[in-house]
């Protein structure tokens, strides 16, 4: 076994009074993929940031090529060939794809920028990822998965000897995940050292050479990945045995609560019609860019849309999110950082923002807000070191849980959940699935948009499949399986002509 390029020894890290890492050891060798797994808030991202020079350890050493090193900042680490892809996007929204990829290390001809070279190179990097985005497009204009691909392209462009990837696939669909994993294979073969985190344990099983498991800031396992089953990984993470992920599906009632007719969103969604029954979990599947998000944003009044939406038999006032909320229809966004949470504000303020009216009589009842936070922390297992911390300082998965708590606080009859478990660890995932099933059982109705097919399959009573902005099919009962859905999504068959 070769010597580690990059390692940490006895590293601890505290944020204020809260210690999040305890004497952690970790090393990374050339030509190996080392997976770091653990529950939300276990300290994975923190470990990675310490390795990549974004944060100093409170105590302990970072070793580079066997020698202790203190990174002044991330640039210093990057100069040593250590590149990190952050869990949260690290892109400037107003700049173009190409500008982001080359930010801080622009190619020049003489003193001038070499636009052509940079565009060609961006094109090449994106091609490597099979990503069709125009390098001149603004980041704010491209979809979330594509942003992640740009983020990866940006890292690839930096000639890394050590590549640290914090949940790169959380926002990717199966197709892009495949592309990325193939790419990681190639990089490993080229001798790159790769640190990889994901809550999708099948990916870990597929590419990892070695696995380290963190639990509550302690390293609880380190060893070869070979022979380690996903169940074993999950157990090591959670510290208990996990039962079946999905509970048995409930039985929807025969009462339509949401009826959408001929909904269109300019250029993105065409002529979509569907309905949702009381107590039903309705899945939406499709490829990236198939328009599921846009359809639901149109339904809930977040986007201008044509067509009609009827809730509990009453037409919904178009274009008004508030009207939707008052009718009991709420949407949980897929983009928690830009649309979901106020990262600079506290947990309470985020939690109650959507349902603030419930706490107002006529002053905001801060004591009740505080109780709501306590409840949400318990119900969604939010691991916050400190109740007064900013939402942005929560670990990624815990942000997602907070967002879920925020949405559910509005006590919706109908909830549309876009990518419910993005970045959530396997243990909590199970809790969320249970939660969704119970929600349906209690007479609420749920729409689940997910790029994780297993999720849609395991949860939904019925599944709508979208492609190119149209609903191309509906499957239910035993037809809810991967083969049927993928076929529909790829536009191969049209089982149920929607037109």
């Amino acid at each position: 076994m070769s010597d580690p390029i990059l390692a940490i020894r006895n590293v601890s890290r505290s944020f204020g009074p809260v210690q999040v890492l305890f004497d952690v050891d970790f090393d990374l060798r050339a030509g190996e993929v080392h997976a770091l797994i653990g529950e939300n808030g276990a300290g994975k991202s923190t470990t990675m940031k310490i390795l990549a020079g974004y944060q100093p350890p409170t105590s302990g050493d970072v070793l580079l090529d066997g020698k202790p090193v203190v990174f002044d900042d991330a640039q210093h680490a990057e100069a040593q060939g250590i590149v990190m892809i952050h869990q949260e996007f690290n892109l400037a929204q107003q700049l173009s794809v190409e500008e982001n990829i080359f930010l801080g290390r622009e190619l020049r001809r003489g003193p001038f920028l070499d636009h052509k070279a940079m565009q060609d190179e961006s094109r090449r990097l994106l091609d490597r990822l099979n990503c069709p985005v125009d390098p001149r497009a603004k980041i704010s204009d491209i979809s979330v998965p594509n942003r992640q691909m740009v983020e990866i392209a940006k890292a690839l462009g930096r000639d890394a000897r050590v590549l640290i990837m914090d949940e790169p696939t959380a926002v990717l669909t199966a197709r892009e995940t495949d592309i990325l994993l193939d790419l990681i294979d190639r990089l490993r073969a080229e001798g790159c050292a790769i640190l990889y985190t994901s809550h999708k344990l099948d990916e870990i099983a597929r590419i990892a050479d070695r696995v380290t498991v963190l639990r509550d800031g302690h390293r609880v396992f380190e060893g070869p990945a070979k022979g380690m089953t996903q169940d074993a990984m999950a157990e090591a993470m959670v510290g208990r045995e996990l039962s079946n992920l999905f509970k048995p599906k409930g039985k929807p009632q025969d009462q339509t609560v949401l009826e959408v007719r001929n909904l269109g969103v300019a250029g993105l969604v065409h002529d979509a019609s569907f309905h949702l029954n009381k107590g039903e979990v309705l899945g939406f599947a499709g490829l990236v860019g198939s328009g599921r998000t846009e359809l639901m944003e149109g339904v809930t009044g977040l986007r201008d849309a044509t067509g009609t939406v009827t809730v509990h038999g009453k037409p919904l006032k178009p274009g008004s999110i508030r009207a939707a909320r008052e009718a009991g229809l709420v949407y949980l966004t897929e983009d928690r950082k830009e649309k979901g949470l106020l990262l600079n504000k506290g947990l309470t303020e985020n939690l109650t923002l959507l349902a603030l009216h419930k706490f107002t009589h006529p002053w905001i009842d801060t004591a009740a807000e505080d109780r709501a936070l306590t409840d949400a922390i318990a119900e969604f297992d939010i691991r916050a070191g400190d109740r007064n911390m900013k939402a942005g300082n929560l670990s990624g998965g815990n942000q997602q849980k907070l967002l879920l708590g925020k949405t559910m606080l509005a006590d919706p009859d109908i909830v549309v959940i876009d990518e419910p478990t993005r970045g959530i660890d396997i243990g909590t995932k199970q809790q969320i699935y249970d939660f969704i099933v119970e929600l349906a059982a209690s007479g609420k109705s749920v729409v689940v948009i997910s790029s994780e097919l297993s999720e849609v399959i395991g949860l939904a009573n019925r599944v709508m499949v979208m492609a190119s902005g149209r609903i191309v099919g509906e499957v239910s009962g035993d037809d809810i399986n991967e083969r049927t859905i993928v076929k529909l999504a790829m536009g191969m068959t049209s089982k149920d002509d929607a037109a």
Binding site: S14, F15, G16, P56, T58, L302, S320, I321, R322, A324, R325, V330, Y331, T333, E338, K339, G340, L341, L342, L343, N344, K345, E349, L353, L354, L356, H357, T360, P362, W363, I364, T366, N393, K406, A410
Partner: protein, 328 residues
């Protein structure tokens, strides 16, 4: 590590910063002139702070919601002008009576409401940069008042002034009305910012408009509301202002906008929006008034250099506040 310091130090600095600056100024003033803490001087300073103060409270909401309003100074002049014209016009029919004054006050509030609403709609609905809209309306209101006054001064009827004058000069239990009104506005403002959904929503919009929208906040309406509130507070400030000198002209309210914005920011509200505190604004207003007052009381330097001292103190007041803050 830096977060640690941030957590434990920042609030204390943040909270104490402007207060500290205010206290330093008060000590300075008291040591320079023994009359500084006299009832008369304190009343003067507080009462004259009231106009900017009332406006600055409204500005706090606008800025917290990520906006800005450069038009408040000329809006005040315009509202004062309209108010005086209306009151003078009413005298022939109603006579010099209290109803005329009340109608004048109503006019000011309505004019402020409309002016603020126009700003708000152009910004929130037509979606033009707030800076440009209010720069434009700043010029428009200023030129309209000049035009109304025919280049000169609009003066309130002399007899009516006698009736109206107490609104500035009298008060309750030795506290003059402008101070009382300012205090009320400040308290209500602080309450609204901290304990009403409106304040929360302003902060949310300023922090991230998208998130606010996805949280079922009517961004457009809330944003317009901030400008309308500000407009009405400008009207209220004008109601206090007109009885003082009984006139309005093209030079009324010049640079009030900068003073109000400066007070808001000195008070610790973030110019980029997302975080505001009304009590800080009040402290900011007092700091600015005190600087002027102390410079007048002191006469230690060439009056030409007053601007230099003012500038330095304003910057220092904010330095105090920022403490050891890292990148913002």
């Amino acid at each position: 590590m830096s977060e640690t310091t941030a957590k434990t130090w920042m609030p204390s600095f943040h909270v104490l910063g402007p207060l500290l600056a205010l206290i330093v100024l008060i000590i300075l003033g008291a040591s320079i002139n023994s009359n500084f803490l006299s009832y008369g001087n304190v009343t003067n300073v507080l009462a004259r702070s009231a106009f900017i103060g009332i406006i600055a409270v409204g500005m706090t909401f606008v800025i917290t919601a990520g906006g800005i309003d450069l038009s408040v100074g000329s809006m005040a002049a315009f509202v004062a002008g309209v108010m005086i014209l209306v009151m003078n016009a009413l005298i022939p029919s109603i006579g010099v009576t209290v109803p005329v004054v009340l109608l004048g006050m109503l006019t000011a509030l309505v004019a402020g409401f409309i002016a603020g609403w126009v700003n708000g709609v152009l910004i929130a609905t037509v979606k033009i940069e707030a800076f440009i809209v209010t720069l434009g309306t700043m010029g428009i209101y200023r030129s309209l008042v000049t035009w109304l006054a025919d280049g000169g001064t609009l003066s309130l009827d002399f007899d009516l002034r006698g009736l109206y004058r107490p609104v500035y000069y009298d008060g309750l239990l030795g506290v003059s009305w402008p101070i009382i009104v300012f205090a009320l506005v400040a308290i209500l403002g602080e309450l609204a910012m901290r304990h009403l959904p409106f304040g929360r929503h302003c902060g949310a919009i300023g922090a991230n408009e998208q998130v606010a929208k996805y949280s079922a906040i009517n961004v457009q309406r809330t944003r317009i509301a901030t400008y309308v509130l500000l407009g009405m507070l400008v009207g209220l400030a004008t109601i206090m202002y007109v009885p003082r000198l009984g006139s309005a002209s093209a030079s009324t309210g010049v640079l009030w906008e900068l003073e109000a914005i400066a007070a808001v920011i000195i008070g610790g509200t973030a110019l980029k929006g997302g975080y505001g505190r009304v009590w800080g604004t009040v402290v900011g207003v007092l700091i600015l008034s005190l600087i002027d007052n102390i410079l007048n009381l002191a006469s230690i330097v060439s009056p030409y250099l007053n601007g230099t001292i003012q500038g330095v103190i304003v910057i220092l007041a904010v330095v105090l506040q920022r403490g050891k803050k890292t990148d913002g």
